[in-house]
Symmetry: C2
Subunit: 427 residues, 2 copies
């Protein structure tokens, strides 16, 4: 045990020199590695290759009832795909609209719809209600925050706990401020911490008493079936909790097959109350004639049913698990002894969240960059890209091959130690 | 020649009785025909079936430079698809963003973007400029009008001529009213008349002097390559006309392969000036990570190049031409002699526009419905669904098989004559 905090200056300097030599060694290799984005590796994409040759004959493109899925029509998605997503989300098929390739686009559209039309029938558009605000549990997903920033929605950071967002803060804020119209949530295997909201957290969401009657929870269930282990985290079903109650229309839920089949060529859906679904469709029918039904059909034919999807997700897990474990075991070995960092050990999703000493995240990012490893920008996991403590880094271990992710992690632990030592030595 | 206008009452009554008998004969058949929407027939869809089995191997999903099109990335579309659309639209590839499955969605998004962000960098969002208005050449495309109505944009009807919109009206209005922010155009084989804007019309568009500096022409080039005959109409390239001039940023152009490959499973694009493309991308990057690149690739591999697309369009024309000609020859034979209707004879696109005596369109629609034939609602071709003369009907002859479209047209000419006779007899 050599906690850096307990070392004297001479020992710190010696440690720094040793690590600097090792760092410079890596630097000479001219590496080009990327652990920045939550992308599946190409071996994961190969798992779904068979999906791309399932519609060879015209006959294979018809529904059981004879609808030609190659033609226009069916705004809210084909029945078979609704059923599949219903089983994935454990919700009735009639509460689901199956759409295009991007759940992010559905979330963006949902916010835009609230701004221009209001959050539901008879509700005032947000653009006519002055400045509106969103709660942003952080660390969180940078693209959620980007939607708010782009549309001029003020963001209020809410701390994350091991059970999800700090619900004391959430409850107090939504109850007291009518201009707070939404909250971004990745409730299972959250981006970037891999936290699954506890039962109590979900129940407290269900019981929220928002001052704004058009307050909406943006429930981005991106990793609903993305377990790394046979025993996955269990998330309480928020929509079932609110069904039939005062908050029935409070939740927009989103998911997609981006990390099930192909990112960019998957299928996304939105799920909500009957009233919300009807309202969304009333706007959507102006926006488009319909989404890509052939791609929906491809997915249904390839997976068959929810069991097929689950079997498929185990194949993904088999590829991803060693990458997560490689990073985590290196953290245990090369970071834990020095008392300078903490991190999450997610049982699913696409990310590991790493906290380095305050004021060191940007420096680690910079050191990594100079050694040829691209990370998610320090700060990206906070609203406005501003991590007040400059301590959080998001690790995305899935895209590079295992050997590369190991190498990147080796460099990362050195960079974290270097940055920590620089800080101690400067104090 | 028995122009109804020249017949005496007794002859009109006799004619009416004869036609009513014929009509009732059809009515007893319990028909169920649909000539309401511009949908390709299933035999047209079969032409592209081969596209659905081109990506069998993982190797086939990579770009020449090694990009894995199955994964995230490439916001503005794959290079190969940009090139193809560039050739289709006769524009530089860098002025094009290749997107998802629906050009309607791109148009909707374009209007929404103008409302929330402004029409370009530094321009004021339309939602902050009070009531805004669009010019709507009519008869026109109902879904364009629906976008305006849905978003609360006032619509001003502009008469169509055989050369396109009445440019005297367009020029006067846009020059005098700063709240006029846009105009909807289907410049080639217009919906529903099949009119291709003349060179002079396009030049007058290029030279418009809008009072609003954020005025935009929504140039829906849906039928850019949709000729029915070897010799197609020629449309002057508006974007080339405005390039480098004061109106360089005035045009948003849209097209798609919805009626080239599969409606709903095709690829759509937006084309505009460099400044507009940059601005659109700056918003789009918040909206989505990217569109379906595999579907773009499918299209590129199937068609090869613009010549492949053109060959393919001739196969479509071979299926569609007999349907158009069946309707038109029946109009010549069964409507022309009575001096009660006029219609267009398009050389491409998906529609025929039929004008019946003033006040008779809704009645024709009703008679058709009662005989089991669904038509596009009377009035749909005008803003707010309100045809001031109640005379225009849109005929969509492509979806039903030839025998059915012949039958539907036989009933249609009878209904038109009946409605006209009812009118004469009531006067």
């Amino acid at each position: 045990m050599t906690f850096y905090a307990k070392l004297d200056r001479a020992s710190l300097e010696k440690e720094y020199q040793t690590l600097l030599n090792a760092y410079n060694e890596y630097k000479t290799k001219g590496l080009s590695l990327d652990m920045s984005r939550g992308k599946p590796g190409s071996d994961q994409l190969d798992l779904s290759q068979g999906m791309l040759s399932l519609l060879e004959s015209a006959d294979s493109c018809y529904s059981e009832k004879g609808a030609d899925y190659r033609n226009y029509g069916i705004l809210d998605g084909i029945t078979e795909a609704k059923k599949l997503f219903a089983d994935i989300l454990d919700l009735p098929a009639e509460n689901i609209i199956v759409c295009g390739n991007s759940s992010l686009n559905l979330m963006y559209d949902a916010v835009v719809r609230c701004m221009l039309y209001g959050a539901g029938k008879g509700l005032t558009p947000w653009v006519k209600q002055g400045q509106v605000k969103f709660l942003c549990p952080a660390p969180g997903y940078d693209r959620h925050f980007a939607i708010c920033q782009s549309l001029g929605i003020d963001m209020i950071t809410v701390p994350m706990t091991k059970d999800g967002p700090d619900m004391d803060v959430v409850e107090r804020l939504v109850a007291s401020d009518e201009s707070i119209k939404g909250i971004w949530c990745v409730p299972k295997y959250s981006n970037p911490e891999g936290v699954t909201y506890s039962e109590e957290t979900v129940r407290r969401f269900a019981r929220l008493k928002p001052a704004a009657k058009d307050f909406r929870v943006f429930w981005d269930n991106a990793y609903v079936i993305h377990d790394l282990y046979d025993e996955g985290d269990v998330l309480l079903n928020l929509q079932k909790e609110v069904a039939g109650g005062a908050n029935e229309d409070m939740v927009y839920e989103f998911t997609s097959t981006s990390k099930v089949s192909f990112p960019g060529s998957g299928v996304a859906c939105v799920a909500s109350s009957a009233a919300n679904i009807a309202f969304i469709k009333s706007v959507m029918t102006v926006q488009t004639i319909g989404f890509d039904k052939l791609n929906m059909l491809r997915h249904v034919k390839f997976f068959g049913d929810i069991d097929g999807v689950k079997r498929h997700m185990k194949l993904h897990a088999d590829v991803m698990r060693p990458k997560f474990e490689a990073v985590l075991s290196l953290f245990d070995k090369e970071l834990a002894p020095y008392g300078i960092a903490d991190w999450t050990t997610p049982r699913g999703g696409y990310f590991i969240s790493l906290n380095v000493p305050n004021g060191c995240a940007k420096r680690v990012f910079q050191l990594m960059k100079e050694a040829g490893v691209v990370m998610t920008s320090a700060g990206a996991t906070f609203p406005y890209g501003n991590d007040p403590d400059d301590k959080n880094l998001r690790i995305a271990p899935t895209y590079p091959p295992l050997a590369e992710i190991k190498l990147a992690a080796e460099i990362l632990v050195i960079c974290v130690r270097l940055a920590a030592l620089e800080k101690y030595l400067a104090e």
